[in-house]
Symmetry: C2
Subunit: 208 residues, 2 copies
Amino acid sequence: MISEKTISRLSLYHYLLTTLKEQEIEFVFSRQLANMANSTPAQVRRDLMVTGYEGNPKRGYTINELIVAIEEFMGLKEGVDMVLVGVGSLGRALLSYFYPQKPRYNIVAAFDKGSNSDRVVSGCRVYDIAELAPVLAGQRVTMGIVAVPAGAAQQVTTMLCEAGIHGILNFAPIRVKVPRNVYLENVDLAVTIEKIAWFANRAAGKKE
Amino acid sequence: MISEKTISRLSLYHYLLTTLKEQEIEFVFSRQLANMANSTPAQVRRDLMVTGYEGNPKRGYTINELIVAIEEFMGLKEGVDMVLVGVGSLGRALLSYFYPQKPRYNIVAAFDKGSNSDRVVSGCRVYDIAELAPVLAGQRVTMGIVAVPAGAAQQVTTMLCEAGIHGILNFAPIRVKVPRNVYLENVDLAVTIEKIAWFANRAAGKKE
């Protein structure tokens, strides 16, 4: 059984390895990766073991091969296909962020209330929300992003789950409920910002 | 001592109350707020007690007054002023998201490497990173957003802390270190997406 934390760390190592590759570095030791990831060499080696790829004690890991091993293990070779629901200010920001700069993360279709079928935002087709099930039926997408207002988030989440989505990234500032076989992560930017502001203001005030 | 979780919940109640106010609802009971926030009425009442504002047992809380009480307690009355470092694809998406749609969160200045002084993105002035300390010296900003590549994140974070910033929202996919009196939150979208994709693919595969 592989934990969420292991998966998160593998994803981080993958990112770090691609930045090293961009600098035309060929080999890396576990202690170097550990240093970049604020981890320990033993942890890095244990995590990478799940991919089945082994480093060479003298040269370390061959970066190119390790990247491929992580991608194969995580099923990321062809990138991640996602659908987005909600094309308001956040949805538009996400579309402009993921397209075309992030080819590894593909928003294959977007959905919005009252959208007509030839609306395109940042290169992505925006369908009416009523077309969610038929559009998804023809795709092998397993992940959905919820970027609608709080009041619509539960309904949209339920629609995604019923249409066969098994992973939800919820940006709506409300806790939604999902079936047991669906994986859910919440990212609430407003709450995060207000929390940071509160602690920052207190810390700044204390010093004055 | 008020916990991070209490602050997060107050921020969520504030958001929920503003959505109720938009629907021209005047009063709300703790059990209604609890239902919206996936919490319990006792938890809601305990959280709101820190603001010093009390509801009426018959009508519940007066929404307008409770909003003001939370804003006063959290120091949000004039919104949150922030600076942004890094105006790549993520930074631009954040600028377009926060301006002008979110007047409560103001990015008062942005900084980027090699930016000339008359660059403006989504209505926000973008200074060269070298101007960080002088620009911040004239502002009462306590919070900074880091949206630079991993390789630059620690340096930028250190610059922000030295310029008097006490809260950091780090989007760079790397763990940065901050002094003890600085509050740090990490949001790593790529790692979050890859983690969700992993679990979603496994859940989808199991069903087939």
